[in-house]
Symmetry: C2
Subunit: 399 residues, 2 copies
């Protein structure tokens, strides 16, 4: 209790550091004024933060009095974080500085179903080689943000009954990684981190938004009052198994029937087109990738299927609009990348079925961060931790 309040009220170096997170430079006199702390205390804290490299004096600052005043600011190059976005069949990894600038990036084909040791082992090796390539030490790495394609218990970083991740259930991801690397590990659901990435990339300042991913599965990440919403069990936004009106008799892998995912996700579209005998370039449409290619090429049956998927997704999003009253809905995932057809279906239903007040200032748009949404979002959670009171306290010894 006492420790927490000390941090809140500005007595520690870490609390003082929080003032600099907006990127603005400040003089010691301003810090005395801002915090009410004695000048000698400020000096001590600032010296510690400068020694760690987290703050740095600006050299070009000129005070109104003529003599250059010692302005100090956050030094984003002091440390790095790693962002990792695991999908079902591929993984992307980036090293960024504390401002989110990408210093190095790589990606690889990888089956998440190969299990945590294989996937995380690759991740650890790749982090080491990327750091070495940048001539950085492991001690320069503060945090690793990881997105996984399934439900994750946010507080522990353990996947929770993930349907497409055999071997990962309740696996202690941070514990495993920390056997090899000391950095703090933050794990979240991939759609959650995509929502954060989309917000950071395209909608800074938007406090109420929904990011929808439509691909092999359908899920969403929800930001309300400026905060990513995880819910009581970490599965907020998991809308793939909401029942839609037109599909009550179609069985879903979850055991229920008529679920959104069973009607509108990639495999459902491929199966529907395949059963109807739809072809593209003389070959049957049999998989999600065929649906996307056929749609991009203007194949009518594929376009109609994707547009109807958009309407189905729109039906669920319409309820989300009433419940959450967002100002932005961003539609991402591979189905959204197949042109405007999915988006058109979503808009058709959301705008016709919502109350006017809810759609007056609502933007429904294609994801702008695109394939980078996940990696940007993973860096957001890693940097957010790296600059936090908890993290800076660890570095300063809670001075």
């Amino acid at each position: 209790m006492a420790e927490t309040q000390k941090k809140i009220t500005g007595a520690s170096s870490a609390a003082l550091f929080q003032i600099f997170r907006d990127g603005q430079a400040r003089t010691k006199a301003e810090l005395v004024e801002l915090t009410g702390l004695a000048r000698s205390t400020i000096q001590l804290r600032i010296d510690a933060l400068i020694e760690l490299g987290l703050l740095a004096p600006l050299t070009d600052a000129v005070s109104t009095g003529g003599r250059p005043s010692a302005q100090i600011a956050l030094n984003p190059t002091a440390r790095v974080v790693v962002a990792v976005d695991f999908g079902a069949t591929k993984v992307s990894l980036a090293v960024t500085d504390l401002a989110g600038n990408i210093l190095a990036r790589t990606s690889s084909k990888m089956l998440i179903a190969d299990g945590p040791e294989t996937c995380l082992g690759w991740m650890v090796r790749t982090i080491r080689s990327e750091l070495a390539g940048l001539k950085l030490k492991e001690a320069d790495l503060i945090a690793i943000g990881i997105g996984l394609p399934g439900p994750v218990e946010h507080s522990t970083g353990k996947p929770s009954n993930p349907p497409i991740m055999p071997g990962w259930d309740a696996f202690n991801v941070p514990g495993f990684v920390n056997q090899h690397l000391k950095a703090t590990v933050l794990v979240d659901n991939d759609v959650n981190i995509m929502a954060l990435g989309e917000q950071k990339f395209a909608w800074p300042g938007v406090e109420n938004m929904i990011f929808l991913k439509a691909s092999t599965g359908i899920g969403s990440g929800i930001i309300s009052s400026g905060v990513l919403q995880r819910g009581a069990e970490g599965i907020a936004g998991d809308i793939g198994h909401v029942q839609i009106a037109r599909g009550s008799n179609v069985p879903c892998r979850c055991g229920n029937s008529g679920c959104l995912e069973a009607m509108a996700a990639g495999p459902a579209l491929a199966e529907k087109l395949s059963l109807a005998g739809a072809q593209f370039k003389g070959k049957p449409i049999a998989a999600l990738v065929d649906v996307i290619e056929a749609t991009k090429a203007g194949e009518l049956a594929a376009i109609q299927a994707v547009r109807q998927a958009g309407r189905d997704i729109g039906e669920v999003l319409t309820t989300c609009v009433s419940v959450l009253n967002p100002s932005v809905i961003a539609i991402g995932g591979s189905l959204a990348l197949a042109g405007e057809h999915l988006l058109a279906g979503v808009r058709e239903v959301v705008y016709s079925r919502s109350m006017p007040l809810a759609t007056e200032h609502l933007t429904v748009a294609q994801s702008r961060a695109g394939v980078d949404a996940g990696i940007i979002g993973a860096s957001v959670i890693a940097i957010d931790y790296a600059l936090s009171i908890e993290s800076i306290d660890l570095m300063t010894g809670a001075l």
Copy 2:
């Protein structure tokens, strides 16, 4: 910017006061340790807060050294707030201290459709007479929390196209009240404040919950990550016009058809029972009050209608469960008070249609705050403001 940070980092009296909001008593030595401020600064701030009556020395505290130490704590009786809950046809008003203890309360029949001057005029007169009855001055009143039965733009306190409140659209509620009383006025939608009241009364510490009100209309108040969610336009939770599967051809007053409210709210049930010739005690069931009485008395047709309304509401709540992953859904409003039938219908659908992980720790319960949910919630928003940095700054002159 500088002013905000001064407040955040503990230099002002108001920031120092925030430490006492948990109700715990503290010595000046502890405050020096907690904040890093000089003892002389602490003394100055504490003296100002004691002079205002907001803090008070405890007399029974004994330090480990033998001599009594001067422990100081929040004094909840220093000031009062007023909580007002306007419904369509009645109003409740309470005066509470800063701990939420009700000092006086009253209620009255009143038509919200009589317009803002009439309703708020009654409110101002009643506040004056209640304060006089408690031998309090107007200056003792810090804030007035008001719930209104329609959408409210939270930042301005102006109703926004409220369907059942003629004359109230864009009416400047705080501006009107402040012509008569100086206290800060906070206005919110009635279901939002009921959600806060239900949380305060029955579910302290629950961070993800939905309060549903079913009566003449159907609406919900949403608390996620511990915060009441208002959305981009202040209409989050307004789920009465979500389309439900079974009702696509029933016209709704909103202009669409098949809305939840058109199928499951009180007037819809009364009309359905009336058309079917249902009777109670020899008279036709013609209004919501008849539906409630007939249901309570065990009339089968009424029970069946209420149970089906529960299923319809459950359909929409099932989507809310996927979207928000709450740990509590509390069902309130007059239809919920007609026994367990509404709740039974809600549970039937929510538990059968949701993913196991979402319902494993989900409680679906009747509202426990009952008819007091609104008045408790209105006091919560008023007290929350009264103890805020902004409010205490006003009182201390931002010392």
